[in-house]
Symmetry: D2
Subunit: 143 residues, 4 copies
Amino acid sequence: MDFTPNLASGSAVLAAQPFSAWIGAELEGFEPGRAVLALNLRPELHQQHGFAHGGVLCYLADNALTFAGGSVLGPAVVTSELKVNYLRPAQGERLVAEATVLSSGRSQAVVRCDIHVLEGGSRKLCAAAQGTITLLTQPAPQA
Amino acid sequence: MDFTPNLASGSAVLAAQPFSAWIGAELEGFEPGRAVLALNLRPELHQQHGFAHGGVLCYLADNALTFAGGSVLGPAVVTSELKVNYLRPAQGERLVAEATVLSSGRSQAVVRCDIHVLEGGSRKLCAAAQGTITLLTQPAPQA
Amino acid sequence: MDFTPNLASGSAVLAAQPFSAWIGAELEGFEPGRAVLALNLRPELHQQHGFAHGGVLCYLADNALTFAGGSVLGPAVVTSELKVNYLRPAQGERLVAEATVLSSGRSQAVVRCDIHVLEGGSRKLCAAAQGTITLLTQPAPQA
Amino acid sequence: MDFTPNLASGSAVLAAQPFSAWIGAELEGFEPGRAVLALNLRPELHQQHGFAHGGVLCYLADNALTFAGGSVLGPAVVTSELKVNYLRPAQGERLVAEATVLSSGRSQAVVRCDIHVLEGGSRKLCAAAQGTITLLTQPAPQA
């Protein structure tokens, strides 16, 4: 595998995901063992009380975990499973998810992710996730 | 609480969530202890290989769990945490998430959710989730 | 692999686990896609309020998930991850964990598990788990 | 609540748990927002390949999470749910679980836990957990 994890290579993968493009995700950091994914909160991403919808946080956790796993396993990876704890309502201008690899082997990585919400000058932890990223084997899993 | 869980009351809550409206979620079932939430897969909801993005599945799990919890606890609920296992790539026309309450008390419910993908005449299990729904207390949690 | 999942083959694996022998686990069912593991609650297995310790429930979930995964993948498996929701205090005479395979491929299975507590004539759901079982590859993972 | 989290108060709670006493758990650290729980690995705690049984790791995660939650919420707490990823076989002399509170409110705390195995002079991360600790309300939940 000749994949080098950096902002250019990672942003190209992100740009190829239509859902990430729509939701407005941006890669802020991508290096071996770590990925930072962010997005600006706009009204379409809210639930009925004006906070970020849990599904938006979950998307961000899922994708940050996948990128962090991909930074050590290569780009042909999928998230096998994840767990998210929501810690406080996510109200603010921007969400930033930072994912860090805890452990990796030949075919799997276990990754943690913290999501902060930025509002005014403050930065508050609003969700914490943990999951498993798995290398895709050939042939690709049947759909 | 004078909230009756049925398609009319649940669809009104869903319509008030901008993110759910954008993503195109529809409530197919909503009764005490059970919620069914579905959406049509369109290109904006894909990742780079033409499957539903994991974040879409995660949104659907999160929201179906919340609705099922709300069907027994009332509408003022949040998802505290959830876990999702992705079982196969979600390729097809429509996703259907069915959530069922396992246990509920005065302030919390534990709920499971299965997500199937419909393609042609087939219906395949593509994700399985489990989570905790918590009644909001007054005053609302600080943002 | 010439492993046939049945009570004899499964009980032999269980008997080879010193921790399972000490804790008193018994295999009640073991067939393709399903395992039932039980134990009698005795004072050594309690926490400070006379209920089964959460760690006992967690052991039972972990091992029932592993056996169910092993029933479809063969005996050389490990639990990669699991999630447990505790639903009520486990007070009674016996715990019974029933694990069922949701999905399995060549190298992994995703499994759910329900744990009931038996007390007098009643049988109550006290914990619900979900996890991933992975086939060990050769050579064995480094310790 | 006049509970002060320190080694004396925490060790008294641990000593009152018959399962913890049998398994040989020792509290190494207990202060606001943090708990360290350890045990020596002996043959009774193994699975069939000579590693610590997953159930032992799960017990340790569960109880370290509970103590950390109790350090901020007081002693009347239960673990509502937890998730554990096993990272490598736990082979060695001693397991050390360190749990740290990520977030806490009036009635719940979300906690992470890392478990290391000590072997010779080495110390390796072998499991990572995350869970929710909940304050018990009066009256106690029905059994």
